[in-house]
Subunit: 314 residues, 2 copies
Amino acid sequence: MTICLDMMGGDFAPLEAVKGLQRYFAEESTPAMLFLTGDEAQLNPLLAEYQIPADKVKVIHAPQVIGYHEHPTKALKEKQQSSIAIGFHLLATGKVDAFISAGNTGAMLVGSLFSIKAMEGVLRPTISTVIPKENGETGLLLDVGLNADCKPEHLNQFSILGSLYAKHILGYDNPRVALLNIGEEEGKGNLLAQATYPLLKENQEINFVGNVEGRDILLNKSDVMVCDGFTGNVILKMAESLFNITQQKNIHHEYFDKFDFEIYGGTPVLGVAKPVIIGHGISHAKAFCQMIRIAEKMISTGLMEKMKASFEGK
Amino acid sequence: MTICLDMMGGDFAPLEAVKGLQRYFAEESTPAMLFLTGDEAQLNPLLAEYQIPADKVKVIHAPQVIGYHEHPTKALKEKQQSSIAIGFHLLATGKVDAFISAGNTGAMLVGSLFSIKAMEGVLRPTISTVIPKENGETGLLLDVGLNADCKPEHLNQFSILGSLYAKHILGYDNPRVALLNIGEEEGKGNLLAQATYPLLKENQEINFVGNVEGRDILLNKSDVMVCDGFTGNVILKMAESLFNITQQKNIHHEYFDKFDFEIYGGTPVLGVAKPVIIGHGISHAKAFCQMIRIAEKMISTGLMEKMKASFEGK
C-alpha cells in the first residue's frame, strides 16, 4: 500500500512530520510505502538526518505551500504545485491509496469534497473525533464541524459511516450508536433531534441505543454519537481545552492524558471515496505516526469498499 | 422582602430544604422572610428540630406534591394545591417577591411562562448556568435548555438578559458578551450564529466581544456566552459530568470543586416578570441556601425593573 503524507502541513512542519516517519519506521510492522509531498531541498537533508529508510519513502517535490490563513478554494486552485494539491492529485489518479495532511483544514476539506468527492449515495461527508470515555475506552463523535447545519437524513448517514469506522478501525464488534440529545426519551430535543430519532430507530444497519445527553458523552453509554457539526465542534474543542487546563494546573492523572487529542492522530473525512486524513495544526511526531497507522488500517480493512456497499443504490 | 420556598421539591425534600434554611439563618444578614409551601405535618416537626426561627418563616400548607415524572401542564392544572402551584399563586398575586423550587423542572417552567409570564417585549424567557472559568471566576452561559430551537433575535435578547444578570448578580461591571460559535471570525458558524453575529454587534446595550469557541468556554475570554438551548444544555451537562467523573477517580483539585454545580444554587428563569429560581433535583442544603441568596439579590438589586426597562417599548 502507498500513503501520501504532506510534509509541509502543521505548525512544526516539516520537522515533526519527519520525526513521525522515524517513529513509524522504528516499529515492527511497516507495510506502507510513503509518498512525501513537499520542498525537496528542505526534506532530503532531514530525511537523511533522521535516517528514514530511502527504499520506503519517495519524495514528490512540491514547490508551493498553502498557508493557514489562505482561502481554501482559491489557494487550491492557484497553488496547483502545493504539497496539498499534489497530494490530492496523487490520490485522485490512484497513484496512492490514502492522503494525510496537517495543513490548511479548509483546503483539505475542499480537496476531499471536490477532487476526491463523496461516495455515491452519501449526501454529506463528515468529520469525527475520538472521545475518551471514563472507562478508558474511546468512542466516536460526529459530525464535529464539517456540517454546521444538518438535516435528519444527514445524521442518519453519519450514523452508518461512524458505525463502520468504529467497527473496522476502532474495533467495536457491534458499536452502539446514540443520538446526542437534551433528554432521554424519544420525542425530546430540538427539531433536528426529534426528526432524526425515528430515522435512527428504523435504520437496520446500525445498533441504535437511543438518546444520550451531555452528561453521557464521557461515559460508556454508547460507542458512536451523532449530532450536528456545530454542537460536535463545540464539544470537541471544549474537551481539547481540558487537556491544556489540567496541564497548566499541574493536575496529572491518566484520565486526562486521554484528552491529549494528539494521541489519536487526525480525523478521517468519512463518506468521501478514498481515505483522507486531516491532522491538527499542532501535530507532533506522535500524531503523524498515528495518522499513518489509521490510513493503513482504513486501507487494509477495506473500509472504503464496506462504506460504498452500504450506500450503494441509496 | 418575602421569598417563597417549595419545601417538597428535590430528591431530598423536605429535609435538605430545612437544612438549607438552617444554613441561611445561621448567617449574619438574613433580610428575607420565607414562605414555605409543603405538607405542614411533615414540615413543622423538622422546622422545630432544626431550630428554624419561627418569626422568620411562615408555613403555607400544600397537601399535594407534583412528582418528577408528572406531565408539567397537566399536573399544574390538576394539582392546584401542590407546593409548586401554591408558590406560583403567591408570586403571581404579589404575596411574595420570589419563588424557588427544586421540584419538577417542567412544571416550574410552565408556571413561570404561564402564571408569571414573560416581560413585555421578551420573546422567549431563558435559563442560564454559571460556568466555572479556569481563573477561578464564573461566567454565564445561556440558553441551557429552555429553547432548544432559537432564532437570532432570541439570542440577541438572551445577551441583554444575561448581561444584566452578570452585572447585578454576578458582579461584573461591564460584562463581556460573546457568541458561542465554531470559528473566531464574523461570518463563521451555522446559519443561526451567522445571523446572530450582526445583531449582537449592533446591540448598544451589551459589550459584545465577538465569537468564542468551545475551547474558550472554560477560559476567561468572556463573561456571558449566548447560544441555542440545545448546545447550551449539552455543554452544561458535560461540565456537570466532569465533577462526578473526577470525584469517582479521586482526582481532587480546587479547580474541579468548581464543577460541583450545587454551589451555584439554581438557575433563575430570565425574562419572566418576577424572580423564579429552579433548583437541581439533587439539591442539598448548600444549594437551597444559595438559591435564597440569589433570590434576595435579584430583589434587592431591582434586577426585574432593570430588565423591564431594557425591553420596554421593544
